[in-house]
């Protein structure tokens, strides 16, 4: 089985937020919920870097560890999904997640926190594939159509990669080798010694 992973190349990400927009549009995610976001560190300073971050589909996920109702499960492809029929919206997964991936809608008439929503790696949820229930709760199921997550497919600089971990590792390794050859050319003033 493949092991699905995201990887964002900080040397390529240009903070265009196309991945965020693509994700919102593809899954029709409401306002206030962002399955993916781009974070820029040292914005406007030397050494500025941007990264697109969403659920990283950890193999030993802290969210699954802390969930009091045990609503998380890992698919055969190594994708961490959750069952919204079981989620109680307690917010613990948000505290536990290193990446701040879990999001909570506030659209129910009363709820201070609705049921959790997060990146599904475009793999839907426990409902039947391509059912309207699945689309309503989890968004599009692209993986079962043989497609990769839209955020990565749309990325204009190919900074955001999604797919089998081995394949991505290979792509990145090649990039590192290429950059290694020209390492002295970037970030010049910060090179010491």
């Amino acid at each position: 089985m493949a092991r699905m992973k995201f990887y964002c190349d900080a040397e390529r990400c240009i903070e265009c937020n196309a991945c965020v927009t693509a994700c919102k549009n593809e899954h029709e995610i409401p306002w206030g919920v962002n399955r993916r976001r781009v974070v820029t560190i040292k914005d406007g300073e030397q050494g500025e870097r941007s990264l697109s971050v969403a659920c990283m589909h950890c193999s030993d996920a802290p969210c699954a560890v802390v969930c009091p109702v045990d609503c998380f499960y890992t698919t055969g492809d190594g994708i961490v999904l959750h069952d919204k029929d079981i989620c109680i919206g307690c917010g613990y997964c948000f505290y536990a997640c290193p990446f701040g991936a879990p999001q909570f809608p506030k659209d129910a008439a009363f709820a201070s926190r609705g049921k959790m929503d997060k990146c599904t790696f475009c793999a839907g949820g426990p409902e039947e594939d391509h059912s309207s229930d699945e689309y309503k709760k989890y968004g599009r199921n692209r993986l079962s159509e043989g497609k990769l997550p839209l955020c990565a497919e749309m990325c204009s600089t190919k900074a955001l990669l999604a797919g089998d971990a081995d394949v991505i590792a290979d792509i990145y390794r090649k990039r590192v080798v290429n950059r290694g050859a020209s390492a002295f050319n970037w970030g010049g003033s910060e090179i010491k010694g």
Binding site: A108, A109, G114
Partner: protein
């Protein structure tokens, strides 16, 4: 099956019992008739009766210090429950979709939380007082306890269903509401409607005799 029953027949049955029962009870009071009062009137019965409906909202100064707890708790509970019943967002939506066909602006979330907490605190204090005060305990009937507990259970199931994510919890709330509606006309809950004629009658009765009720 249970879902169908609670959302369908039982709901209409409880609504019918509630409406017919309340009308029957109020009708029996209105049409009970009483002997004419032949005494010479020393005061105006109508105005005293009308005045008494409102003046009883405030406790008499002489006894106010002794009943401070239940006055405060009583107002917390009744105002909170009233706000919950008619201005909670899901209730407004429910009434609009199932009964009335029109809605109104519901409370914001924070106001709902405050109202429900006031109602819960008031009801708990009132019930504890009923149990701890020897006089209250002595004059409480089984009906009083059933009414208090049933209302508490209705409010509790509503609060447990707050996430609006589990059908079982919604059905539980609706089921307890239906029980409450069925029990309503035959119990002390009728004071929701009868407090007005009751106060008016007392006020008029005393007013005619020239007593400031």
């Amino acid at each position: 099956m249970i879902e169908y029953l609670i959302d369908g027949p039982l709901w209409y049955f409880s609504l019918a019992v509630f409406v017919i029962g309340v009308l029957w009870q109020l009708g029996s009071i209105v049409f009970a008739g009483r002997k004419g009062d032949l005494s010479v009137a020393r005061g105006n019965a109508t105005s005293s009766g009308f005045k008494n409906i409102f003046s009883r909202f405030i406790p008499h100064r002489e006894i106010a210090p002794q009943i401070g707890v239940q006055v405060v708790a009583g107002y917390l509970f009744h105002l909170g429950l009233f706000a919950l019943l008619f201005f909670a967002a899901p209730h407004v939506l429910f009434l609009e979709e199932n009964l009335l066909g029109f809605g109104w602006t519901p409370m914001p979330h924070w106001a709902f939380i405050m109202a429900s907490q006031a109602a819960f605190l008031g009801l708990i204090i009132l019930w504890v007082r009923r149990m701890t005060n020897p006089v209250s305990r002595l004059i409480s009937t089984l009906d009083d306890h059933i009414v208090a507990i049933l209302t508490f259970v209705v409010m509790l199931t509503g609060c447990l269903a707050l996430l609006e994510g589990f059908n079982a919890l919604r059905l539980l709330h609706r089921f307890t509401v239906e029980l409450w509606l069925i029990y309503f006309p035959f119990s002390a809950l009728m004071h929701t409607f009868t407090f007005i004629p009751s106060r008016a009658f007392t006020g008029a009765w005393f007013g005619r005799r020239g007593i400031d009720a």
